[in-house]
């Protein structure tokens, strides 16, 4: 399977340095591939060799020039400023050890004195900015600074996940603020693992060392778009630390069926007012949210009006309801929430001949 399209190779290259070879191994592990010097810095061969070995600094130098054009100076001027900053002699070769030591000290002093430069909002010292630009001007960009594409591999075994489907126009497993969330039973997943759906990263949290929850929080427009279009949308798990990803499955959005359209029409029937809120929308297998004396789980629906004979339908089983002050309550028997899965809830009135879809109660694995 190919990696979802959004991910592309990110190449930090510039000038005459092609640097296109991708290195094997870890994502961030710098291999000391050294570049031949394009230009001498004027600091001597030792210092030039050290400069050339500063992988990543060339890329940074390029960033700095883009963001701070005043750093785009001739090599000789940059070298002079660096000598001054490092308190090195005005000319002559600089031994590598001395260069390295003075560089470290100057960077430390810059941090202590807040002599800094913001580059892409990174807080860098003025000394390292000079070095980075000099590195870029003299040796360009290292091949090792090219970011690799993530590789597909199994990161963790996912025992179960859900919800897996919805009908177009219905938010699956939607919470109070109107955001859907998907859950993944993934024992020992890296705590930084992230879920993507249709190449879009979701807000992913890790609960109780077992369940990943991926929410559409903050992505209302994307959520609306995704769940309104019938289709299959790939879900992938990503571990950016190991630069890897795995396919989890496909989320299916089906066409709204004719009877569901009727339900929608029924929802506009004066028999039922609009559902303002309801809950609980999720629980853990075997756990009754709002437990009742008989072990059943209480659910509530905030609705201003409903026929007197309204019953709660749970996966097509019907239960009696109570109504008080605009809130309908009912109980779901314990045998219905012992296993992970989903319960489809709706209100049904025989006298009015209508059914009002409420939503899906998600039962997460315990």
């Amino acid at each position: 399977m190919s990696n979802p399209g959004r991910r592309q190779f990110i190449r930090y290259t510039s000038g005459g340095i092609a640097g296109a070879a991708l290195l094997a191994g870890g994502w961030w592990k710098w291999t000391s591939m050294q570049q031949p010097m394009m230009h001498a810095s004027g600091l001597g061969a030792d210092a030039d060799q050290l400069l050339a070995a500063l992988g990543g600094a060339g890329v940074l130098g390029e960033w700095i020039i883009v963001e701070h054009p005043d750093y785009d100076q001739p090599i000789v001027d940059l070298t002079q400023q660096l000598r001054s900053r490092l308190q090195l002699p005005a000319d002559g070769p600089v031994p590598a050890a001395q260069f390295s030591e003075q560089l470290q000290q100057s960077i430390q002093q810059d941090f202590a004195a807040a002599a800094l430069l913001a580059v892409q909002n990174w807080q860098l010292t003025r000394t390292e900015a000079l070095v980075a630009v000099l590195r870029f001007k003299t040796a360009g960009v290292s091949a090792g600074a090219i970011a690799q594409a993530p590789i597909e591999q199994q990161i963790v075994k996912i025992a179960n996940w859900g919800p897996r489907t919805t009908t177009a126009g219905t938010l699956p497993n939607s919470f109070g603020e109107g955001f859907s969330a998907l859950w993944f039973d993934a024992d020992n997943a890296p705590r930084w693992a992230q879920i993507e759906i249709n190449n879009r990263r979701l807000f992913t949290t890790y609960r109780e060392n077992r369940v990943l929850v991926a929410s559409f929080q903050g992505q209302r427009e994307f959520q609306q778009q995704l769940f309104s279009q019938p289709g299959e949308y790939p879900i992938t798990l990503h571990d950016d630390m190991s630069n890897s990803w795995q396919h989890v499955g496909n989320f299916v959005v089906t066409e709204a069926a004719a009877n569901e359209l009727e339900t929608t029409v029924a929802a506009e029937n004066p028999a039922f007012c609009k559902v303002k809120n309801w809950g609980s929308r999720q629980t853990t297998a075997g756990v009754a949210k709002h437990p009742q004396k008989d072990g059943s789980m209480g659910v509530w629906i905030d609705i201003d009006c409903a026929p007197a004979d309204t019953r709660l339908s749970v996966n097509e089983q019907s239960f009696k309801t109570h109504s008080s002050n605009g809130v309908i309550t009912s109980n779901i028997p314990p045998e219905m929430f012992q296993q992970p899965g989903e319960l489809s809830l709706s209100l049904v009135s025989e006298s009015a001949g209508t059914q009002l879809e409420i939503g899906v109660l998600v039962i997460q694995p315990n």
């Binding site: 930090y12 870890g26 994502w27 961030w28 592990k29 710098w30 291999t31 050290l50 070995a53 500063l54 992988g55 990543g56 600094a57 060339g58 890329v59 940074l60 260069f99 390295s100 560089l103 470290q104 960077i107 430390q108 941090f111 202590a112 807040a114 800094l116 913001a118 892409q120 909002n121 990174w122 807080q123 860098l124 010292t125 390292e128 070095v131 290292s142 090792g144 600074a145 090219i146 970011a147 109070g176 705590r191 930084w192 992230q194 990503h238 571990d239 950016d240 630390m241 709002h290 509530w300 905030d302 008080s324 002050n325 605009g326 809130v327 309550t329």
Partner: protein, 487 residues
């Protein structure tokens, strides 16, 4: 024992030595501690809810308007049943720091009329109440394997490591229910919300309690403790003020002003040595959360508010170029680096514009609803930025990595600010009524027998979750009530 007012009918009038309004962590602690110290006292605890979570209709009694710059939920951040908000708290515990008690005008922070040493014995007791076996918050007590995962701030003038501990979390409504049930001197009235008050110049004489069930009784008490939480306590004090009670504390300019909550900030990202642990983790003595805080010296010299930072391992799309952070010549200590999102909890300034008011609308019990104007002091964001900026400098200076600042957009952050259900500061403790509502013993200024317990009395807030300090203050209040007699 428990009496459910909804089961009525009951005797219309009752008397007691001590009436506690509210059975959350503060109310339950005051009741049981007072009963233990003075078994002859007749104590009534009036809880607005029952033993189970409220119905929607009951929760509607908490509804009101949120009209501040930052939206705030009035109902979901509170629980109206026996045990109060301990029914949904996360168990984070840490006493306030000593500096949190000290007034620091330059930082715009009020002090407490008591200092931390005065509260230490009560903090120790609070650990027992909250089932926390370990009261050592110094990370040096962690086993070496965990210490190695912390940044070494030895001798650092700016930052230091500290710890949070965790209560299981103790659900007061579950754990202390049998103690109340079996107590000979405590009667807990359920579904008994305070609905009206009778007072003289200096004394609250009678409180009538009732509920949606329609039953009411009036209780005459020698002393009354309001322990309803940071919003509801202020609401009822405002109600007394509205009824014309002239007591100084009820007419303090600070009453219901300075409402504060700890709000989360994410000031930036670090690219830092791999495998640093500043998240909840297991230690040999239970779960802990290592945190990074400014040193007291830095707080003083920079006029910063107190703050703590946690690091969440979160791969960031935006990283420094590969290999850059490996070079010793650039001062880096070497090794892999990970990305961490910094989560900061900042001590909020007490903002006078952040306030509660009584609405002209009433609830089903006839009480005025509340309007909340939650206003975060804009300077709080600058403080957070300043602390984090200095932190990135230290991370760089120590060769551990680099930091990236998130752009500061105060308006956007205010709109998206999210509270943590820590309702604080609406009935501040102070030396004088000009500066607060209650005195150092939590008695409302100008009254002889009215007290407030809970985080409403905090004059400043630190960054620590409030429950431990709430329980410590309740423990201290019980000692005061028993030491000063029954009248």
């Amino acid at each position: 024992m428990f009496t459910n007012l909804a089961d009525g009918p009951h005797s219309a009038n009752r008397q007691c030595d001590l009436l506690i309004l509210g059975a959350g962590p503060a109310g339950i602690t005051v009741a049981l501690e007072t009963a233990a110290k003075a078994p002859d006292l007749n104590i009534i605890v009036a809880e607005a809810g029952g033993l189970e979570p409220s119905s929607a209709a009951e929760l509607d009694l908490y509804a009101g308007d949120s009209e501040g710059s930052s939206p705030y939920s009035l109902s979901t951040t509170r629980l109206r049943y026996f045990g109060g908000t301990s029914g949904h708290w996360g168990g984070w515990c840490r006493p306030l720091d000593a500096i949190d008690f000290i007034a620091r005008q330059q930082a715009g922070l009020a002090g407490w009329p008591i200092n931390k040493p005065e509260l230490m014995s009560h903090y120790r007791a609070a650990h027992q109440w909250l089932d926390i076996p370990d009261d050592n918050y110094d990370p040096k007590r962690l086993e070496p394997g965990l210490q190695e995962k912390l940044i070494d701030f030895s001798g650092n003038e700016w930052f230091q490591n500290r710890l949070f501990h965790f209560s299981p979390p103790t659900r007061f409504g579950t754990k202390y229910r049998s103690a109340i049930e079996q107590s000979d001197s405590i009667e807990c009235l359920l579904n008994a919300a305070a609905v009206s008050y009778e007072h003289t110049d200096t004394r609250l004489n009678k409180v009538t309690v009732g509920g949606l069930h329609g039953q009411q009784i009036t209780i005459q008490a020698n002393r009354v403790v309001i322990a309803m939480g940071g919003m509801e306590s202020a609401r009822h004090l405002l109600l007394m003020q509205q009824q014309g009670w002239q007591a100084a504390g009820l007419n303090s300019p600070k009453l219901a002003r300075g409402f504060a909550d700890h709000f989360g900030l994410r000031p930036g990202i670090l690219q830092l040595q791999a495998d640093r642990i500043y998240q909840r983790t297991e230690s040999s003595t239970g779960p802990v959360m290592p945190i990074i805080t400014p040193t007291p010296e830095a707080l003083t010299s920079e006029a910063w508010q107190n703050a703590c930072m946690m690091l969440q391992i979160t791969p960031a799309a935006n990283r420094l170029p590969p290999g850059y952070t490996n070079h010793q010549a650039l001062g880096f200590l070497g090794g892999d680096t990970w990305s961490y999102t910094v989560q900061m909890v900042l001590q909020p300034r007490s903002n006078e514009n952040s306030r509660l008011e009584l609405s002209t609308q009433t609830d089903a019990l006839g009480l005025p609803r509340i309007k909340l104007f939650w206003e975060i002091d804009p300077r709080d964001y600058q403080s957070a930025q300043s602390i984090f900026t200095r932190f990135t400098h230290e991370i760089g200076r120590l060769g551990l990595g680099r930091g990236q600042l998130k752009p500061l957009d105060t308006k956007l952050r205010r709109r998206s600010a999210s509270g943590t259900a820590h309702h604080m500061g609406t009935a501040r403790m102070a030396e004088h009524a000009a500066d607060g509502v209650v005195d150092r013993n939590l008695k409302v200024f100008g009254t002889d027998n009215l007290y407030v317990a809970g985080s409403a009395v905090f004059p400043s807030f630190g960054y620590s979750n409030p429950t431990m300090t709430i329980v410590a203050l309740a423990h201290r209040l019980a000692a005061h009530l028993t030491a000063t007699g029954t009248h």
